[in-house]
Structures are given as C-alpha cells and as structure tokens.
C-alpha cells in the first residue's frame, strides 16, 4: 500500500514536470534561420530570414569589419526579415550576428566577398628614384579594389608591367595579405622606368621611376689657356673629361666638382663647377709671377682626377724706378710684357719703405698704362733716410739710404 502511494505520487510528478516542459517551450518562440546562403557579394541586398512561431520582433545584433549595429525586422506571415544595412553589406569580411530574444541567443555569421570587377587600382610606388646598376630597386604595391573600396582576396592575379629602354616586361603577381607587390630592379643604364598594372581587365595609370646614374668613377682633367705667361690677366679654364659611373652612364647634371690648384709655395687655390652632360668647367686667373700649378679635381668623397701640371713663365724681365721731387715722387715703369707690349692695366706694384732697418710702411698700387706712381707725403714720411724696396711680378729692387727732404 505504501509503495502504491509512492508510485502514484511519482507518476503525478513526472506528468506534471513534462507538462511544465511543454509549457516552457510554448513560451519561448522558436526561431529558425531560413537563409542558407553564407556568402554574399559586396553591395548585394542581404536579408536574413527567420521563421517564427509567434509574432515578436527581436532585434538582430550585427557586427562587421568597421562597426556594429542593431537591426529591427519586418514581420511578414511568420517570417522575420532582417535587411542588412548597406554600411555592412558593402564591406568585405566576416559579419557575425546574434538574434536577441530574452536570454536565448541564436547566433551565426556570413561572409561578404568583393565584387568580381576591379574599379580602381590603388597603386603605391616607391622610392620614386633609384640607382642604375642592377642592385637598387623600387617597389610597386598594388591593391586592386572594387567599387565599394574593398581589397581583393588572396591569390588574385595582378599583372605588373614595366618598360625600360628596349625591354617591356609583364610579370604575374598574386595578392597576399590584401596587397600585391613587385620589386623592380634597375638595369645598367640610367633612364626612366614606366610602370603600370592590370587586374581582371582593369588597368592602372602610368607611373614612372627615375633611374639615376650610379656614383662617378675617377676621371681626367685638362686646362686651356691663351698663353703660358704669368701675366695676372688672362684666364685658364679647367674642364673635366665626361664623368661617368662604372656602367658608363654620364653622371647626373650638376654633380659638383672642385679643382684644387697648388703652387710652388704650397698655397692652395680652389675653384669649382657643376657638370653639364658630364663635364664640369671652372676658371682661374693667371698668376702674376712665375710659378707652377699642380691641379687635381674631386667629386667630394667619391671620385678624383689625375694630377696635371701647369707652368707659368715670367713676363716682366726688368723695370725702371725713377725718383723725383726730393725723392718723394717715385714712378715705376714702364712695365713691359713678353712682346715688350705695355702690360695690361692692373698689375700690382708694392712699395715697402724701411726706416732704420724696420718696415715703416707699405704702399700698394696697380699699374695704369704700364706705369705706377707713388707720392710719399711729407706728413707721413718726415725728412730722413729710408730704404725703399719695389716689388712687382715676382721681381724686387732695393734702394738703400734714399734721403727724403
């Protein structure tokens, strides 16, 4: 009897619990995803459809590459339709969604692929200039994108095209990590490489990369002059041979060349010029006394020339000095050049005046029509004995114990 009661009560319990179970399942409506497609093309209309037993309108959480939102459905004869907004449906990537109904979450995801046509070839090329010689290179990066600005998936074929002199190349590259890239190496020649690319029949615009010559190698120099005399008047022009790199490309214009001129005293003169078509020229006025120049040119820190030697001959053999007006008026000249012609104006003449064997004063003047005139003023040069030295064109004449009065 005892057992019977127990059984009955157990049976009742079981019945009751199953009853409550049924109750529960009726309270929570079933949602079944009716949309089986899990891949869509960017920009297409995407709708997620759920069939449901009851008229409710739960929100759909939806998250794409750039952001998340909540979507309100439309309800139509037991079907809930969630229209995915264009800001989600136009961008590639995985979209995950969750149907939010009380505590029960139904979730899933779908993927959006780019459209199958390329709308623009996003191209980056750099560096924009490289060096000739076959070791330096530039990099072409191409991101083919569709009309919604989506990059293409892995292994999309891209043609990288480039032309240089007589060679035109057309190389196949494949997208990886959303981009495709190609290293374009220089050749031995300098010049300009034209680059473009193509993907799924769409071509990019033209890009260009300048190939500059490599660094110069050692070169020669020469000098031209009207005569070999040290007249302090004519100009010697120095020029380089055509400066080239090791592949025989003429170096870029305006390569800076410096000429160093060392004379017999060890003094250094410097003159410089920039190349045009590989040749740099530079000028220097002749010395006004007999000397010899050793000339060498440099492209600073990169290349140098051979040494050349230039000799400058003495032009003035001798000159007269005339003392007048109580020895206060001194005329030097006439100064005559190599053909006994009057030396062109501007030759420097120095007068050194010593008093008691110490230098008292120096007067400097330049020649005019072959003559130089010094006037020793009474205010400065008191009446006394002076030693007067005249220097010009590397020559020197001394007059001891000249008395000024």
């Amino acid at each position: 009897m005892q057992n019977k009661h127990t059984y009955i009560s157990l049976l009742v319990l079981v019945l009751l619990s199953s009853f409550t179970l049924i109750q529960n399942s009726e309270v929570t409506p079933n949602f079944t995803l009716e949309t089986s497609q899990t891949e869509f093309e960017a920009g297409s209309t995407i709708e997620l459809k759920f069939s449901t037993s009851r008229e409710t309108a739960p929100l759909l959480y939806c998250s794409s590459s750039y952001g998340s939102t909540l979507i309100v459905p439309t309800y139509n004869s037991k079907i809930l339709i969630y229209k995915i907004p264009i800001s989600i449906s136009s961008k590639i990537g995985v979209v995950n969604w969750k149907l939010i109904y009380e505590d029960s979450l139904i979730s899933g995801k779908f993927r959006i692929r780019p459209k199958k046509e390329v709308s623009s070839m996003e191209t980056y090329i750099g560096p924009p200039s490289i060096q000739a010689g076959g070791t330096d290179y530039t990099m072409l990066v191409v991101i083919p994108t569709d009309s919604f600005d989506n990059p293409f998936p892995e292994n999309t074929l891209v043609l990288a095209k480039h032309q240089f002199l007589n060679s035109e190349k057309n190389e196949e590259i494949f997208t990886k990590n959303l981009i495709s890239y190609k290293n374009i190496y220089s050749q031995k020649e300098s010049g300009r490489i034209l680059v473009s690319s193509e993907c799924l029949g769409t071509n990019s615009k033209e890009f260009s990369v300048t190939v500059f010559p490599a660094i110069p190698i050692d070169f020669k120099i020469s000098a031209t002059r009207t005569h070999g005399y040290a007249d302090g008047n004519q100009i010697t022009t120095f020029s380089t041979s055509i400066i080239v790199d090791k592949h025989n490309n003429i170096v870029s214009d305006a390569t800076y060349v410096t000429f160093f001129l060392t004379n017999e005293k060890g003094n250094v003169l410097k003159t410089s010029g920039a190349t045009i078509n590989g040749v740099a020229t530079s000028k220097m006025i002749h010395p006004d006394y007999e000397t010899q120049w050793s000339v060498k040119a440099y492209v600073d820190g990169i290349a140098e020339s051979e040494l050349i030697i230039l000799r400058y001959k003495q032009v003035i053999k001798d000159f007269d000095v005339l003392f007048l007006e109580k020895n206060r008026d001194i005329t030097v000249g006439p100064l005559q050049s190599f053909m006994k012609q009057i030396i062109p104006d501007g030759l420097q003449v120095k007068l050194l005046i010593y008093k008691n064997k110490t230098l008292f004063k120096t007067e400097t003047k330049t020649s005019f029509e072959g003559l130089v005139n010094f006037n020793l003023k009474r205010d400065i040069y008191k009446n006394d004995n002076y030693t007067i030295v005249v220097k010009t064109a590397g020559l020197e004449k001394t007059f001891n114990s000249k008395t000024l009065w």
């Binding site: 998250s63 800001s87 961008k91 750099g126 560096p127 530039t138 990099m139 600005d149 990059p151």
Partner: protein, 505 residues
C-alpha cells in the same frame, strides 16, 4: 574727557588707516601672486609633451618576419601607438556617435565607412560601448619606401555593450582576427583598409582553483598610525613586522591588506609603493602569515573605456607579486556592490567578471574572490570566484540563517567572512553605544557561529585608530568616531577585552 575722546578718535583713525593700507597691500600682492600663477614661461613653448595613457590593451607582437623592408623598433612602436589610438577613437565614436578624432587615424576612404556607421546608429539610436582587451598583431608587410604596412591582428578580444534608446540590449565578448593596411600620412599611420577575417563568440571557462585547502583565520590590517595610508611616507617595515608578530602570536594565520587604485598610480604603477607592498609581504612571510591582497580599493569608475587601464594596473601588480610565498588570495575589489546604484549593476558585474578572468590568467596559482559588503550579494559571480567572501556588520542574530542560505546558493564553496566587528565606542555621539565588554561578547559569539558553520574569517581590525581619512566613512563625527574603535588593541597599545576572542581559541 574731551581729550580722551579725541585720543580715542585719533587712535581709531590711525588704526583704521593702517588696516586699510594692510588690506590694500595684501589685495594687490595677492593679485600679483595670482597673475604669476598658471602657465610658467617655460611651458609656453610646449617643449615637454606628456603622453597620457588612455588605452592600454595587452599587445603581443609576433616575431618580426615580414615581407618587404626590414622593420625597426621605432617605427613599429609608432605603428602600434597609432593603431591603438585608432581603436580608441573608434570606441569613443561609437559610444557617442560623434566623429571626433576619426580623421587623424583613418584615411579619407576608410573614415567614410565609420561615418556611415555613425549615421546609421544615430538614426537607429544605437550606441555601442566597447573596448578591446588583447591584440596579437603580426607584421605581414612593410613597403620599401616605408609608407605602407600590413598587419594581421589575431584573436582580438573585443568586449561590447550595445544600447538602443539608452537601454542595454546586448553584452558580448568576441574573438576576432583583422587584416589592416596602414598608410603613413601626415606623420600618422592611418588605417586604409580594415577587414575582419574571423570572428567567434568568446567565453572564458571559470577556471576554478582548488580552494578547499584554505583555512583563513585572519584580520584586516592597517598600521595604527596610518590607517588607509599604509604605503605612504610613514611606511616602516619594523612597525609592520611587530604588528604581524602580535597577530601571529594571537593564533591567527592571515591578514588582509588593501591596494588603493589611485595611491598606487592608476595605470602607471608607482614602483616605490609596489616595493613597500613587497616588504609587507616579506614581513608576513617572516612571521608565517598569509596575505589576502585586495585590489582596486577606492576605485569607482567601471566605464568600459577604462578597462584596459584597470587591467594594466592589476597586471603590473599581480605579475610582480604572484610568486611571493606569502600570498594566499586576490580579492578583486572591496565591497563593489555598494557601487551598484551609482554606477549600474551591469557595469560593475561585467567589470568584475572580466577582472577575475584577467587575474586568473596572470596568476594561475592563487585563489580569487570578491569582498562583497553583505551576504545578499555574496552569490553574485559565485561560479567564477574560488571562494565566497562577504562582510558582516549587521545583527548577529541573523548571521547563522544567512550563512546557511548562502551555503545552499553557492553549493558549499568555502566561505570567508572577510570583515566583521563592532565598535566599542561610547561617548557624545553614541551615549548608549558599545563598550569593551560588549565588543568582547560580540566576538565571542561570532567565533561560535564561525565554528558551527565551518567558516573562515578575517575580522576588523587590529587597532583602534586615531585619524581616519574622510574618504572612508565621510567627515561626519558620529560615523568617524565610531569607526575609530573597532580594534582589538586600543590607542595606547593595550589589548582590549575582545583580544581574548581574536582567533577563537
């Protein structure tokens, strides 16, 4: 008489004259002083730019093995900074549906996608509070001219809260993989393309530790002279060592100490404070005591955008101390349920939930709990904590029933009563209040309940305090004065009657 009056008038006149002069001079001088405050001249040139960390999720770079140009550390850092800033401005944008800052970190074309989302969400009145907790970027490609980079960011843990019309609709944690193309523009590494490659729901396992071995008989500890400022300038290891000796000799085996969030330097941990905490642990170890460290004391902002800062704070402290032998458990936060009303229950609980995961991921060995302020809240997150902890300052009559109920709810997890006690204060503010005898009786009774229910305990507190900062109980004297008298040892260092029951032995 007339003369006297005259003199009085005179002196009043002179005094008032002096007074007026004093007022005028002090007025002018304070005006000058005011004009000299504020920006000093050196700051006009902005020569010193201080970087304020506002977003520091954990970033783990894969070893560099990229195609293209070799990457250097400096550029990689710059990319990382700009990338995290890009996330940050995006979080802010979707939280507020405004476009502030987006332009700096997304190129012309990329930013349109974000603007479109903002337009959509503003129209639908949807806002998203989000943050990312982990990033695992790999540098895939760096272009020869150093202007373009591609990274794959694997297993980005994103936490989001989605609201519609201001109402929370969904809370979600996702693990996603992104591919990102960056362009160097105007000195910024801007995002050009952003593609989500993979995404799945992210759920952490409770990852429970065995807490059965715990046998905490402890006391909440602050030094007598510096309550709530334990690691300040007055920190002395010898004081703490002596106190720990008293605790150990009384038969207790553990203490509970507090790490204040601001005091320890927020996201940028103050090394000195951390060192003092370590010395405290050393002192505990030398005395054979175990330590429960309570984190995030006095922290009250649970906003999603600050999560990464909080996590960084916790990570620095825990990874620095997790191998210390004195540590027995981490208490995530002291009485977080008190912030339910002001900060929102969902905010607080999800913050705690996330923080438990973090602490457990850094320290795989020690138990984790939350120090709830009452029994009613103690079952929150019961499946994630390793032992239950609650504080009890109510009438002891209900304690037994409450514990029995809690035990049922929490399927017999170990329970620690993390704070309890009674003030022996009797005086102007509470004439009929406590006394040392009443306090002793209270502790006698509590210990009985503890034994009966097989509880573990950490009582409040060792000392009576003289000064209590107003942050603790406010500045009202009737609360402050009572708070001062919870100790087992009084202000003069004499053991109170209750000391007999301190460890229930």
């Amino acid at each position: 008489m007339v003369n006297l009056n005259k003199n009085i008038t005179r002196s009043i006149l002179i005094a008032s004259y002096i007074l007026i002069i004093v007022i005028i001079i002090s007025g002018i001088s304070s005006l000058f002083a005011y004009l000299n405050t504020g920006a000093d001249r050196s700051s006009m040139l902005h020569t010193k730019l201080e970087k304020i960390e506002q977003y520091i999720p954990e970033v783990t770079w894969a070893p560099l093995n990229n195609e293209g140009r070799p990457m250097d550390e400096l550029i990689l850092n710059k990319i990382e900074n700009d990338y995290l800033d890009a996330w940050y401005v995006k979080h802010v944008a979707y939280k507020t549906n405004t476009t502030l800052g987006i332009k700096d970190y997304y190129t012309d074309n990329a930013r349109n996608n974000i603007f479109a989302f903002i337009a959509l969400n503003s129209k639908e009145k949807v806002t998203v509070e989000s943050t990312t907790l982990n990033h695992h970027p790999t540098l895939e490609f760096f272009s020869e001219d150093g202007q373009l980079a591609v990274i794959t960011d694997k297993d980005v843990i994103e936490y989001k809260r989605v609201f519609k019309d201001g109402k929370l609709i969904l809370e979600t944690k996702e693990k996603s993989t992104y591919k990102i193309i960056f362009l160097l523009e105007d000195g910024f590494w801007r995002i050009r393309h952003f593609v989500k490659e993979k995404s799945e729901n992210f759920k952490t396992e409770p990852n429970l530790r065995v807490a059965k071995h715990l046998n905490i008989k402890g006391i909440n500890y602050y030094p007598q002279a510096t309550p709530w400022d334990m690691f300040g300038d007055a920190f002395l290891k010898s004081t703490i060592f002596n106190d720990f000796k008293i605790i150990k000799n009384s038969g207790l085996n553990s203490i509970r100490v507090f790490v204040q969030y601001d005091d320890f330097g927020k996201a940028d941990i103050d090394k000195e404070k951390l060192e003092k905490l370590r010395l405290t642990l050393d002192a505990a170890e030398e005395n054979g005591l175990k330590v429960v460290i309570t984190l995030f004391d006095f922290y009250g902002d649970y906003s999603v955008l600050n999560w990464t800062l909080n996590m960084h704070h916790a990570k620095t402290i825990i990874s620095g101390l997790k191998d210390h032998k004195a540590i027995i458990a981490w208490d995530i936060k002291n009485e977080p349920n008190l912030d339910f009303d002001s900060r929102g229950k969902v905010n607080v609980i999800s913050w705690l939930d996330n923080m438990i995961d973090l602490v457990k991921s850094i320290d795989p060995n020690h138990a984790v709990t939350i120090g709830w302020s009452n029994v009613q809240s103690a079952s929150i997150l019961k499946d994630k904590v390793d032992f239950i902890s609650f504080h009890y300052y109510e009438s002891l009559d209900n304690l037994d029933t409450s514990i029995k109920k809690l035990k049922k709810q929490t399927s017999n997890k170990p329970i620690v009563m993390g704070e309890f006690g009674i003030s022996s204060y009797k005086g102007f503010w509470k004439p009929l209040g406590g006394s040392d005898i009443k306090q002793a009786k209270y502790h006698e009774k509590v210990q009985k309940i503890i034994v009966e229910n097989d509880l573990q305990f950490i009582s409040w507190t060792l000392y009576d305090f003289v000064n209590i900062p107003k942050e603790v109980v406010g500045s009202l004297p009737w609360r402050k004065n009572i708070q001062k008298k919870y100790g087992f040892i009084d202000g003069n260092g004499t053991k109170k009657v209750a000391f007999k029951y301190i460890s229930g032995q």
